[in-house]
């Protein structure tokens, strides 16, 4: 009888603690994917080099709030780039300190430059980078938030979500994917729909669907 009572007590404690652990995932979008910390970068992205200079990239991105452990980050962004040392991006950023709109750029050798602003609400907002006559302009929901001059000319546009380790949630979840809608690049004097294939560097862990102009990405370990 005493044994049964002890078993009941242990069972009640176990059920209670698992209910408490489950509660945050019901009320918050983020979820811990419970994967190893492998220190590897992962991208779910579309990139296009139209064979000429590119003057702008724009996308309407679903702002999501993923799980991010200390020292890591998760983000969705649009980018103008020439190569690994020349790039300019803006997007939705999550770190353990909280979510924000951020921009980063690098004009040659590292380090990169970084700036952040208040977050856009959960939902869609537009992110845009333009490069006209050596002036790089960053737009957050249609508002110009930063400019700088640089001598390089972009030739590629990229639209991506990114994490620096498997222990971090990629933006989006199975039932709450991060959409990149209306993806366009400016070249040859006009805005064009983005073309290119969907590339997922961690397809075992992350989902990706749609077309270059309208695609969705998510973390397969998370339902919401």
């Amino acid at each position: 009888m005493l044994t049964r009572r002890i078993i009941r007590l242990i069972a009640a404690a176990a059920i209670g603690s698992s209910a408490l652990l489950a509660l945050p995932s019901l009320v918050a979008a983020s979820c811990n994917p419970h994967r190893v910390d492998d220190n590897n970068y992962y991208w779910t992205y579309v990139g296009q080099g139209p064979g000429t200079s590119v003057g702008g990239v724009v996308s309407n991105i679903w702002n999501y709030a993923p799980y991010v452990p200390t020292g890591r980050f998760s983000y969705s962004w649009v980018m103008l780039t020439l190569n690994a040392n020349y790039w300019a991006q803006i997007g939705n950023y999550e770190a353990v300190q909280g979510r924000s709109v951020y921009l980063q750029y690098q004009d040659g050798a590292p380090p990169a430059h970084f700036a952040s602003f208040g977050p856009q609400p959960i939902g869609f907002s537009t992110y845009e980078v333009e490069a006209i006559g050596g002036l790089f302009s960053y737009y957050d929901a249609g508002t110009l938030v930063f400019t700088h001059s640089a001598s390089w000319v972009p030739r590629v546009g990229q639209f991506s979500s990114e994490i620096p380790s498997l222990n971090t949630q990629m933006m989006g979840a199975i039932n709450n994917a991060v959409d990149f809608l209306g993806n366009k690049m400016f070249y040859n004097g006009a805005w064009h729909n983005l073309a290119g294939s969907l590339t997922n560097t961690g397809s075992a862990y992350f989902g990706m669907s749609g077309t270059a102009t309208s695609f969705a990405t998510w973390d397969k370990a998370c339902s919401n």
Binding site: N40, W43, T81, N85, A112, P164
Partner: protein
């Protein structure tokens, strides 16, 4: 972030505690104690088992002891789209790394130990032995990374971004 040092003193302390637990649960006493006492004994046994488990797991995989002043230092190698490389520290091969699109392995991550004290002379070498760069790590600047993009390796703070998504690995 480097893991905390594990001292032998702490482990011995745990073992002493476990030993005293065992001596207090003599088999002959069990028949003379009541249900409430039995419940207390059961809980005591449970705690002892937990302690034994902790002690055993710490003994089974001892963490490297990290030097005090430089304990925030670590070095990770991000080979995003570079050639296969070998990373040496003070002349010893510490890791090999290939373009991450062709790798299922964690990125090489190294911290100082008693066997590998700072300062470090770090080199990144291609398969043909040619150098992509050498650096001296004193360990005073927090976590660091070597970021390999294409044919260029750069030594940077660990929180610096990797830049554009890689299109492919080098041929």
């Amino acid at each position: 972030m480097a893991p905390p040092a594990v001292t032998n003193e702490g482990l011995y302390g745990l073992k002493r505690g476990v030993r005293s637990c065992h001596t207090s649960v003599g088999g002959s006493r069990l028949s003379r104690i009541g249900p409430r006492r039995l419940l207390s004994v059961a809980m005591g046994l449970f705690i002892c088992c937990c302690l034994v488990g902790c002690s055993a797991s710490l003994n089974a995989s001892p963490l490297p002891s990290v030097q005090g002043p430089e304990s925030g230092f670590s070095l990770v190698v991000h080979n995003v789209d570079g050639p296969p490389v070998v990373i040496t520290v003070n002349g010893k091969v510490m890791a090999r790394s290939v373009c991450l699109l062709e790798s299922n392995s964690p990125a090489p991550f190294v911290i100082p130990t008693n066997d590998l004290p700072l300062p470090w002379s770090v080199a990144v070498l291609r398969a043909d032995g040619s150098s992509m760069g050498t650096w001296v790590e004193a360990g005073n600047d927090g976590p660091r990374q070597i970021l390999i993009r294409g044919n260029v390796a750069a030594e940077l703070p660990a929180d610096q971004p990797a830049g554009p998504a890689p299109a492919s690995c080098p041929p």
